[in-house]
Symmetry: C2
């Protein structure tokens, strides 16, 4: 790709994502030239490409503007009203997603699985072979309850990118982020306790609350700035909330990065009410921006944040290697780790340590960030093309998940059943709510190669949605 | 080893284990000849070897007798009195065991780790290499929430040996037996519930009860026949017990196999009071007898038993591959599996399936059963030789753990601290009781090569015990 094509792509992605809204003035040729370190004529060529695509229009003596006639999908409306703490439902729908067929020819858009076919992941397989061959006795032994110290040191080093300077001794290795979240929740809450969650929220964390008999209080959440601090404050006044559980970076399912100021405001609230924050950072390293956004943990001065993460989204979920940095809840978290699985599988830890030490992790991240950002651009254009007007579409700042809000008469469980005939599976919106809201929403995965089959699947979703709307 | 040496060893092991008590008549030459398919003269030679070792004595016209002057250690006394349900303590001591140093030169006798250096385990490493090389994409993917179907089919096939004919769909793969036990407990109990346990009992299962806020009721347990059905019945009359958690085969720490009739009686009690049984079978395949003893599960007609097991003791703990067959509690167990770890690490499952399919599992089991039985013989003789008179010693029927009861004035936590100076670590008895009983007991591991260092460690334990007794 030429320099100007490259720049044109970066700009068109920003437009697709809504960073430059319709009708807005784009940066001047001079600014872009200096920002991207390219010549004036390269920028001019890039703008000409965008003009041809009718993404921008030149206005004499004023510069370039995002085409005002261009249809940018609206944002999803999010949840607006404060609610009562509720028992979590929707397990049947989650199970439906977990056990959906993965047969050849099936387009599985519902799962949160990353692309594991990238060549930058090959060294991980080689590391697994090496670990099996040369460290075989080590790989067969019980690991320490804390997990491999070497791996924890590597994780501590990687966490510097998110603003944290953490000692490896404050990190415990877990069987994926799932175990980290379960440990976190059990470390700070008892049966019957109320946990405030972003809404929509990751179904796995909510099912964990359900399993341990806790109640969720869904807090209104903005699709660009995240959980509403104002609504959370009202909720804290009203209810005896024990913890806040949220995904502030590359949110699942909405894709936003909370602005740092709002992260700090959240932390101040948690301090004022003396409650814990459970921060799910599992997609954080996949933020499109570089350097990646800071974690709430990085601003945390009194160790009240329990950071949960894993390599399941950045590398490969089959490894089942995650971690928790439980802050002041260390002792209780350690007990929870012991009774949950005793120790984490040894071989994947040895292989991962090797892979990260050799610099392959950051290399792979760079590739995947770019790939997912490119895919977002394509999938957004397909959604705009094939889905009916009036749908709301999220504007992810990282990761590989897109949230789509349909006309409120559409029930996406019904939609999913109809799509099954076309061998397509989506994640229904209701699993992202404790009480089964977001019935008219869906989440799709755009990690995997965006081939013709994928495009046809989006087209079919559009057709089936129209069919359902015609029935109404 | 010659045939007669082989037979001599079998007989001497039975004598050491107390199967033929001091003064008792041994089987006739004719019976042994027919039982073992060897000639009369082979049996006669074997008996001569035992005579030389002063293990048996010939009495004219009467046959062979176990030397009556021979000192057989007494059995541990076990726990006799019924107790109240209690909150579990001892986490500090368990953590002490989990984090004890594993430095070179340190003799770690406390842990429940198997010997992983056997040549029959080599094919497992080769299977791991193959899985990393050829099935790399499969190994990186999320596994099904149930775990690998192929592996579950192999486990179902292996379970036939314990008398169970189970469909693979009734089995879920877990991250070791730890996760299986946690899932089982959470599937049948709520916070505050009472669980009856054998006593002494596996500390991991009791810590799980602690972590989930349940109470343990310790039931008197016989060192040969297991949990007292009579005491359990009294307890069931008196307390609202929700489940019974026990290890009926190759019990940890006592090593007994419950007789089948007592297993059936236990099941009838559970039926009468309509409660669940959580059966830990993690050492069951290591029973010295062949075929191995039946599980309670194999007699279970109304699916009230939750069977928990793993490959951690039979093969290698670092794999973290276990399973649960949760019977009628399937749906709740599935939810618990989801919130606990989401899925189990994929690569070890692929490698294990390969290893078992090729017949390596049963081959390895045969070797380890023999090795551990030989080791038991040696370690028992060392304990008899070096420890003061009056100690009680368990008579394991499988596995690689020995339980020793010292004079009741001895506190084994104190003993352990003194032994640390000699780079020796044992498991203290108090962790095997919910309320910290068995302070005068210890558990040692005899899985690993019984070399001179090991013998010196037993000798040192004897010396330190004598030192402590002199202080009293």
């Amino acid at each position: 790709m030429n320099r100007y094509e490259n720049l044109a792509q970066v700009l068109s992605e920003r437009i697709e994502q809504g960073l430059y809204p319709a009708g807005d003035r784009l940066p001047s040729v001079r600014i872009l030239s200096s920002e991207h370190g390219v010549s004036i004529s390269t920028v001019q060529q890039a703008y000409r490409v965008l003009e041809e695509k009718q993404l921008v229009e030149a206005r004499p003596k004023s510069g370039y503007f995002v085409t005002s006639t261009r249809l940018q999908a609206a944002l999803p409306s999010g949840c607006r009203s404060a609610q009562r703490p509720v028992d979590i439902t929707q397990w049947d729908q989650v199970l439906d997603l977990l056990t959906a067929p993965e047969l050849p020819g099936f387009v599985q858009l519902g799962r949160g699985s990353p692309d594991i076919t990238a060549p930058t992941l090959k060294p991980l397989n080689r590391a697994m072979v090496r670990a099996s061959q040369h460290q075989n006795l080590l790989a067969l032994k019980y690991d320490s309850i804390y997990g491999s110290l070497e791996l924890r040191e590597q994780i501590a080093r990687l966490m510097i990118d998110s603003g944290s300077h953490m000692d490896a001794n404050n990190i415990m290795i877990t069987t994926g982020c799932h175990e980290a979240l379960a440990i976190a929740i059990r470390s700070v809450c008892e049966v019957g306790d109320i946990v405030a969650v972003d809404s929509p929220s990751f179904h796995g964390a909510m099912q964990t609350l359900k399993g341990y008999g806790m109640k969720a209080l869904e807090i209104p959440t903005d699709p660009i700035t995240g959980i509403s601090i104002e609504a959370l404050e009202l909720a804290l006044e009203q209810w005896p909330i024990k913890a806040i559980q949220l995904t502030p970076n590359c949110n699942n399912p909405l894709g936003y990065n909370m602005p740092d100021e709002r992260k700090k405001a959240l932390l101040r609230l948690a301090q004022r009410y003396d409650i814990a924050i459970i921060e799910d950072d599992v997609y954080g390293d996949l933020a499109y921006q570089y350097p990646r956004p800071a974690t709430i943990t990085s601003f945390d001065e009194d160790s009240r944040v329990l950071l949960c993460s894993s390599f399941s989204k950045t590398l490969a979920p089959g490894l089942r290697v995650g971690w928790i940095a439980p802050g002041r809840y260390h002792n209780r978290a350690l007990h929870m780790k012991y009774i949950s699985t005793g120790a984490t599988s040894t071989l994947p830890q040895i292989a991962l340590t090797d892979f990260i030490k050799q610099g392959h992790y950051l290399q792979h991240l760079r590739r995947m960030r770019n790939q997912y950002q490119r895919h977002l651009c394509t999938v957004t254009s397909w959604v705009n093309k094939y889905l009916p007007c009036g749908v709301g579409v999220s504007r992810p700042q990282g990761g590989f998940l897109l949230w789509i809000e349909l006309d409120e008469r559409i029930d996406t469980q019904r939609l999913n059943r109809l799509l099954e005939e076309h061998k397509i599976h989506i994640a229904v919106g209701s699993i992202f709510s404790a009480a089964g809201k977001y019935r008219n929403c869906l989440r799709i995965n755009f990690a995997h190669p965006l081939n013709d089959i994928y495009e046809q699947a989006i087209k079919q979703i559009g057709l089936t949605v129209q069919q359902l709307m015609a029935e109404e």
